[in-house]
Structure formats: C-alpha cells, structure tokens
C-alpha cells in the first residue's frame, strides 16, 4: 500500500469526496486490495499463512498505527505501546468475562477505550516534558502496568498462571474461532480502524497533532490547544494499540500473559513505524511486513540454503546479525521510512500528471520529531 492509496482511503470513507472521479480512480487499487484481502485470501490461504503470518502481520500493523498516530503524527514519543496493548487485552478479557451479554465487537471497542483512558494518564507527563525524557517516562507506565496485570489475580480471573485466554470468538452467532474466522475478524477491525485513522489525521484533530509535533510553542501561540492535542493523541493512539493488544491475545495467540506485552513489544512496534515511515498510514503495514515477516523469511531462506550444512546455532546467530544489519541499512538508505520509497515508486509507475497534486501532509521528510 502506498500512501497515495491511503489518501484514497481517506477519500473512500469521506462521503462526497469519492464522487470526484479522480478520487474514485485512486480508490480503485485500494478497493482491489481489499477485495483480495477479504475474498481471495480467505479462499486461498492456509492455516500457516493465517496463524503465523497474516494475523500477526495485521495486528502489528494496527499497533504500529496506534503508535504512529501518537508519535508520527502528534510527535509524542512513547515506549508504552506494550502496556497499552496489555491494557486493551486485559480490559477486553474482563468485559467478555464479567459482562458476557455484550457482543464481542463492542467489548473490543470498549477495551480499546479503556486503554485510551489509561493512555491519557500515561500521557500526562507530556504536558511538561519532551523528547527522550518523555520517552523514558513512558517506560514507567510500561513496567508498572505489566507488573499490575501480573501481580493482581483479579485481572486474569485468578488463573494460576496470571494468563488470560480467549473465550469462544463469535459475532452474531457466527463462530470465528477457525483460522479464517480469526483472520477476517482481525482484517475487519484493522481496515475499519485504519479508515477512521486516515480520516482523523486529515481532520482538525490531525492538523492540531501535526502542529504540536512540528512546533509546539508556535502551535500554542496561534491557538492550537497543545495540552488537549497531546492528550487526545495519547488517547487515540493508546486506544488503537489497545484493540491491537486484544486481537493479539484473542485472535492470534489465544492465551497470553502480561509478558507478551513487554518492553520488547514496545520496541518492535517502534521499529515498525520507523522502518515503515512516521506520519504515514500505509507505512505501518510496510513496517509490519518488514519487522514481522523478515525474520521468518530469513529463517526459511537460510534453512533452505544451508539447513543441515551449517550449525543451527550459528545460523540462528547469523539471522540475528542480518536482521540488525538490515534495519541499520534501511535506516541509512531510507530514513523517512519505506513508505516514502513506496510512494516515490508509486508516482513513477503512473504517467506523469495523474499522480495528483501535493496535498495535505505527506511523508517524504525525515520524520524528525526531536
């Protein structure tokens, strides 16, 4: 997905805008992609693809989206992503457990909102501190929340292992516990949230976020409510991460404990948006593909090339080195993220002139936030 498509997505969901035939034409590739994702993939995919690749890829892209809204658009760096995901997962679990009459999609949304509320609290220090100090302060939330979920049995219904496990996944009586069902549920949630996010970043709210990111003192002076914008970014970003966490727990793993949402997860999501592109919706998907799928690809390729001939431990170490080196290489080659690369490619693939004028905020910058 290129970010031109994301713009198309925004047009796609904005009534009226799609009437413009050019908007329609731009929406077409996205429509095709969605058709493939919703129709062809479920027919053609295997359990392996759903369970091991597509579902985690989509969920991590969603978590990336949450962090990107917060960090890429609003400029508030956070390493609390794991904690937000955990909050969403544990909140949704408890809603499903304690209020079984609420349908699954609503519990998911409510779980996300609870994560958003926690996000606001975590974001309070952002009113006073910036940059790495803010980043470091979100770590407090990361460790504290992880500890709380692990420590107090109530959150996991006093399970012996403090872990939570998915109830039967069903919407309107439709069983979704099969791999395809879980894939479709994840895909629907991700597409819906991405559509709303695409809309949001182009709205007043999104503009205020970008203003705060680019120059918060000037933003305040010209009348942008800086504090409210920061907190609303924390709210929305954490809520999206919360839904991602709930999906991670229920649609992907089935059973998780708080360690699944540790600091490593926060770093992984940050990698996704840096590699994919800050301030780009499509970048989350590209970044997620890179971070989630590359290790799998590396391991499959190296198994096939060297399996049996090279010592397995050495091979695993080489993969780790290759993964780290590739990250550095991409950061050097494409500091604005792969989304910028994809977008340039996209523009070149189309005849000149139809690529559309410069409009709104675009990636293609270096994503400096501090």
């Amino acid at each position: 997905m290129s970010s031109a498509e994301t713009e198309a997505a925004a047009d796609f969901v904005a009534p009226g805008a799609a009437r413009d035939w050019r908007g329609l034409r731009r929406a077409l590739p996205l429509g095709l992609l969605l058709a493939v994702a919703f129709v062809i993939v479920p027919l053609a995919g295997t359990d392996y693809w759903f369970n091991a690749i597509l579902i985690p890829f989509l969920i991590m892209a969603l978590a990336g989206l949450g962090l990107n809204l917060l960090m890429g658009y609003a400029g508030q760096a956070s390493l609390g992503t794991g904690a937000f995901m955990a909050t969403g997962a544990y909140a949704t679990y408890n809603l499903l457990l304690r209020l079984p009459d609420i349908p699954l999609p609503i519990s998911l949304v409510l779980g996300g909102l609870i994560a958003g509320a926690v996000g606001v609290v975590v974001g309070l220090p952002s009113l006073r501190i910036k940059g790495f100090y803010l980043l470091a302060s979100t770590l407090a939330a990361q460790f504290l929340l992880e500890w709380i979920f692990n420590q107090y049995g109530w959150f996991s219904n006093y399970s012996t292992s403090s872990s939570i496990s998915a109830p039967k996944l069903a919407i309107l009586g439709q069983d979704l516990s099969s791999p395809v069902g879980r894939y479709l549920m994840t895909l629907t949630a991700v597409v819906a949230i991405a559509a709303v996010a695409a809309r949001l970043v182009k709205s007043q709210t999104g503009r205020a976020w970008s203003a705060v990111r680019d120059m918060d003192t000037a933003a305040a002076v010209i009348g942008v409510p800086v504090a409210r914008s920061k907190l609303s970014a924390f709210f929305v970003g954490a809520a999206v991460c919360g839904v991602a966490g709930a999906l991670w727990a229920f649609a992907y793993l089935g059973t998780v404990d708080a360690r699944s949402f540790g600091l490593d997860r926060s770093f992984q999501v940050m990698f996704i948006i840096i590699v994919g592109g800050m301030g780009s919706i499509a970048g989350n998907f590209i970044g997620s593909a890179f971070i989630v799928l590359l290790p799998i690809l590396l391991s499959q390729v190296s198994d096939r090339l060297f399996g049996g001939t090279v010592d397995a431990g050495q091979l695993a170490n080489l993969q780790r080195i290759a993964f780290g080196a590739l990250i550095i290489w991409f950061l050097i080659k494409e500091p604005a993220g792969l989304a910028a690369l994809a977008e340039r490619g996209w523009r070149r693939l189309r005849p000149s002139g139809t690529a559309g004028p410069e409009r709104g905020s675009r990636p293609g910058n270096t994503g400096k936030i501090f």
């Binding site: 790495f132 100090y133 170490n317 080489l318 780290g324 950061l331 994503g367």
Partner: protein
Amino acid sequence: MAFLIETLIGGLLSGVMYALVAIGFVLIYKASGVFNFAQGAMVLCAALTFVTLRDQGLAFWFAALVTLAIMVVLAIAVERVVLRPLMNQSQITLFMATLGLSFVIEGMSQLVMGASVHELDLGIVDTPVEVGPILVSQFDLVAAAAAGILVLALSVFFNVTRIGISLRAIADDPQAALSIGIRLQRLWRIVWGVAGFVALVAGLLWGSRQGVQFSLTFVVLKALPVLIIGGFTSIAGAIVGGLIVGAADALAEIYVGPLLGGSVSTWFVYVLAVAFLLIRPAGLFGERAIERV
C-alpha cells in the same frame, strides 16, 4: 534501624554499579546526541571477549588490553558504518539504529564466542564485613571504589584534556564547535572508544557479580532511570542518579513491596524518575533550554 541502614548501604553500593553503566550512555549522548541502546550489548561483548581470552590462558592485564583494543575497533566501525551515514538524522532514528546495532553485536558475540555461561573471577574476596550490627559486602565496596576511580579519571579526562573541552563545545553548540574546527568524527571515535572502555569495566564488575552471560545486556534497564534522574548529559548526574536509584530500589523492595504484595523494583524507580522529571524536566543536572521563538 540497623536493618534500615544496612539496606540503604547495600542499595547505595548497587547504585554505583548502575551509575557505571549509565556513564557509558552519558558519554555517547553528550558527544553524538545518540541514546545508545547498544551500550548493553557492548557490556556483554566486552565481558565475553575478556572471559574468552582469559579461558585461552591470557594474563589478566593482557586480556584486558586486547579486549580494549577490540572495543576501540568496534567504536571506529560504528562511527564509520552507522553514525556517519546517519548524521543529521533525527535522534529517534539514531536510537533505532543503535537497537539494530545491539542485535548485530549480540549476534556476533554469541557467534564467535558461544552462548555458554562463564564464571568471571576478579579475585575480589566476597566475605561480608560486619560493622557492628551492619553487614557490608566487600565485593560491593571494591566495585564502588573502582567505579569511583573511573568516574574521577573520566572527569579529569573531560575537564582537562583538549578532547574533553571539544566534547563540551560539541554538547553546547554543535554548529559553532564545527565551525571552529573541531573534528567531529575523530571526537566520536574517541568517545565511543572511551564508552567501550567503560563498558569493559562495567562488564567485568557486573560479570563477576552474576556470571558472563546474555543477561548482562539487561543491566541497561536499571541504568535508564539513573539517566532520567541525573540527566542524559551529566556524569555527576549519573553518579547522583545511580545512588538515588540504588537506595530507592532497595528501600522500596523492603518497605513498599510487602504492602503491595509483590516485588516492585521493575517499576518503582521508573515511577520515581518520572516524579523527578515532573519537578526537573531535564533531570537533576540537565540544563533546560530556554525556548526561543
């Protein structure tokens, strides 16, 4: 009361060990504005190299020298391959690059030197010393003394030598520093090399405390709140921050943990650090820039 004092002393001594790791961060942050997450991997790499060399039968000082040489080579490579191409990128990009770097260093270390756990014996006797009713660890005393000497040496190095003055100039105003002819790349190499030396000392002390193994990289997590409290740019801050974190950690574990029914040290010092930040937004010793518009 004796127990309180004993806990406090134990905590303060641990704090010096945290400060030791934090100083590595401070040096690099001051010189290149990079929050170097690979510092943990460097600690592991240094300790693992040293132990492997010792296992090959090298003498202590010789092993230390060879390890130091390797760390310097690593510093030069990092400057050339990672930092220089990423100059002028945002700090967060550089931060992420150091995360990638930590994968590379960890992978390389384990690839070359294996993953097994090594014992590291520095020959420091570790029988407890009793001062009245209070028990003090001899090892911790020695470690704290070593850290103290290191800090003193670094302070002298950075306050007296030309390099130190250049470093302060860079930290104050990179543009101006460049314009008066400070060679940034050479400075970076030196500072990363010194950070490698600090990593070696930290690796030796931590390694002999817990064995040389992968989890040496985790000491970073305790160094972070030290940095938040002390400020990213101050060596003195790292020391004071380390002492605060060590003492708070130990006291909280004893007096707060039981109230909450668990171990609080994963998060307590972080929350404390945030509390400090809210009062001093750039750490205790960090300078807060005046906003100019």
